[in-house]
C-alpha cells in the first residue's frame, strides 16, 4: 500500500489569528465546551519598537515518529494504516495519560468521558475527498492540506518553494504541521 504523509502547511504571513479554524474544528468534531483540538499562538519577538508578531494555528503534529503511540500501553493510540495520522481508539483507551506525558506539543487531553482526544486531521472528511474543517474554514486561505509524498500536491509545492519551519524539531518527533515564514 502506498504510504501517505499527510501534512498541514500554514502560511504565517497570511494567518491573522482569527481562530475560525478553532471554531470550525469544535463544530465539526463536536468538541465539548472548555476543550480544544487546535488553538492560536501569537508569538512576539524582539524589543520595542523592533517587534515581530507571528500567528500560528497549532494542533497535533501527526508526527512521523510519534512518541504518543510508542508510549501507549494498550495500543489505543495508533497510526492509521497507510499514513502518518495518529488516532485514538476510545474502546482501548484507559485514560492513563501516558500519551499526554509523551507529547512534546501538549496536543492531547482527556475528555469528560475518560478517554484521550486530539486532532485527527479530520480523517472522516479526508476519506471522502474533503479538506480538514480548519483548512476549509480559513477565511485567509492560509492553510493547505495534502500528501507530502505526492510531489504534485500543493503542500509539496509550498514546501519546495517557500521557507518553512516546524515547532520544536529538536524533540525528534518529525512533526507534519509546517509553518511558512
Amino acid at each position: 500500500m502506498k504510504t501517505r504523509r499527510y501534512a498541514i502547511v500554514i502560511d504565517t504571513l497570511r494567518c491573522i489569528g482569527c481562530a475560525d479554524c478553532v471554531v470550525a474544528c469544535k463544530t465539526e468534531n463536536e468538541v465539548p465546551e472548555g476543550y480544544c483540538r487546535d488553538w492560536i499562538t501569537e508569538a512576539t519577538t524582539g524589543t520595542f519598537p523592533e517587534l515581530h508578531t507571528e500567528y500560528r494555528s497549532e494542533r497535533c503534529n501527526h508526527c512521523s515518529n510519534p512518541p504518543c503511540v510508542h508510549a501507549c500501553p494498550t495500543g489505543a493510540s495508533f497510526v492509521a494504516d497507510g499514513s502518518n495520522v495518529t488516532l485514538v481508539d476510545p474502546e482501548l483507551c484507559t485514560g492513563c495519560k501516558s500519551c499526554i506525558a509523551a507529547c512534546p506539543y501538549d496536543a492531547r487531553f482527556v475528555l469528560p468521558e475518560g478517554y484521550v482526544s486530539k486532532c485527527t486531521f479530520c480523517m472522516h472528511r479526508v476519506e471522502v475527498g474533503l479538506d480538514p474543517a480548519c483548512v476549509s474554514a480559513c477565511p485567509t486561505r492560509c492553510m493547505a492540506f495534502g500528501d507530502c509524498n505526492d510531489p504534485d500536491s500543493e503542500v509539496s509545492r509550498l514546501l519546495r518553494t517557500r521557507t518553512w519551519k516546524v515547532i520544536a524539531p529538536e524533540a525528534g518527533t518529525e512533526p507534519n504541521v509546517y509553518y511558512l515564514t
Binding site: Y35, L92, T94, G95, K97, G114
Partner: protein, 315 residues
C-alpha cells in the same frame, strides 16, 4: 526576547501547565519501589539461608499488599477505570507502562509463593499453628519450600525489574526534559531498596538484626546522593531544554523543594543519623528510617512534579 499569547487553548490539566498526574502516581512509585526493595532483600535473605525468623523474610508477606495498595492508587489515577483490563489485552514493547503492568502481574504470584515457602522459617510456630488449620495449603507450601531458591532467584530478577521500571517509566518520556535521563532507573531502584532497608530497621526486633540494614542503608543513601548529583550534572551538561530543566532546582521555583526536602531531609539527615548510630551514638531507632521513608516518598512527589513542569516548547 520572545513573548507568547495562546488563545482558545484551555484544556483541563494541560493548560497553562501540565498537571495530569497528581498524588496517585508518586504514591504508586513509592510503594512499588518499597515493595521491590522488600522483595529483593527478602529473596537475598532466603538465598543466604538465614534462619531464626529474619525480618527480611517476615516482611515478604507485605510485598503483595503494598503492591496492591500502589496499584490501587494507579487505578484511581485512570480516567477510564472500567477499561483497566485493557492493559492485559496487549503488550506494547515500546511502552514502559505496558512492561510494568505485565511485570507486576508476575511479581504477585512469585512473591506469594516465596512468602509461603519461607513463612515457616520467618514466623516459626506461629505460622505452623495457622497453617495446620488450613490443610489445603500444605501441598502448595511443600511445593514452594522445595523450590525456595529458584523462587528467590526469580524474585531477585522481578524485584530489580520493578524497582528500575518505576524510574524507566518516567525517563522514557523524551517530551519532559527533567525525566529524560537514564539515571532515573538506577536512582529509583536505589531509593526503593533504601526505603526497604529503612522499613526492615523498623521491623527488626534486636540491635543485631537492625545493624546490617543500617549499614546497607548508609551505603544506599550515599549511592542515592551520587545519583541525584549525576542527574543534575547530566541536565546541566545537556541540550538547552535539559539546562532549563536543571534551572528548576538551581535557583528556580523547585530549588528549596529539592535541596532542602529531598536531598537534605530525605537523604543527608538520615545518612548522618545512621552514621552516628553506627559509631555508637544512641538515638531513637525509628527516627532515621522514618526520614528515609518520608524522603523516598517526597522524592517521588518532587520528580513527578518536576517532569510535568519542564517541556520542549517555550510556552
Amino acid at each position: 526576547m520572545e513573548e507568547f499569547v495562546i488563545t482558545q487553548k484551555a484544556n483541563p490539566h494541560i493548560d497553562p501547565g501540565l498537571a495530569i498526574w497528581g498524588w496517585e502516581v508518586p504514591v504508586y512509585l513509592f510503594l512499588g519501589g518499597l515493595a521491590a526493595g522488600l522483595l529483593l532483600l527478602g529473596a537475598v535473605s532466603v538465598l543466604r539461608a538465614e534462619t531464626d525468623r529474619p525480618a527480611a523474610q517476615r516482611l515478604l508477606g507485605l510485598v503483595t499488599p503494598i503492591l496492591g495498595i500502589g496499584m490501587g492508587a494507579l487505578f484511581l489515577d485512570l480516567e477510564h477505570k472500567l477499561h483497566v483490563w485493557r492493559f492485559y489485552t496487549a503488550f506494547q514493547v515500546t511502552a514502559p507502562m505496558s512492561w510494568g503492568s505485565w511485570i507486576l502481574l508476575f511479581a504477585v504470584p512469585v512473591n506469594l509463593l516465596l512468602a509461603l515457602g519461607t513463612a515457616g522459617n520467618a514466623f516459626g510456630p506461629g505460622f505452623r499453628a495457622f497453617a495446620d488449620r488450613l490443610p489445603a495449603l500444605a501441598p502448595l507450601e511443600a511445593w514452594a519450600i522445595a523450590r525456595r531458591r529458584p523462587l528467590a532467584w526469580l524474585s531477585v530478577a522481578i524485584a530489580v525489574a520493578v524497582g528500575i521500571y518505576t524510574g524507566i517509566l518516567l525517563s522514557a518520556y523524551g517530551a519532559r526534559p527533567f525525566w529524560n535521563s537514564a539515571i532515573l532507573g538506577p536512582l529509583f531502584l536505589t531509593s526503593g531498596v533504601s526505603a526497604a532497608a529503612a522499613a526492615l530497621q523498623l521491623a527488626a526486633r534486636t540491635h543485631g538484626e537492625r545493624l546490617p540494614f543500617e549499614r546497607l542503608d548508609v551505603g544506599l543513601l550515599v549511592i542515592e546522593l551520587l545519583l541525584m548529583g549525576l542527574l543534575v550534572v547530566t541536565l546541566v551538561s545537556g541540550p538547552l531544554q535539559a539546562q532549563r530543566a536543571a534551572d528548576l532546582v538551581l535557583g528556580g521555583p523547585m530549588t528549596v523543594y529539592f535541596w532542602v526536602f529531598v536531598v537534605g531531609l530525605g537523604v543527608l539527615l538520615p545518612l548522618s543519623l545512621e552514621t552516628f548510630q553506627l559509631r555508637g551514638y544512641r538515638l531513637p531507632v525509628f527516627v532515621a528510617p522514618a526520614f528515609v521513608l518520608m524522603g523516598s516518598l517526597v522524592f517521588r512527589f518532587f520528580i513527578v512534579e518536576a517532569g510535568q513542569v519542564t517541556t520542549w516548547i517555550a510556552y
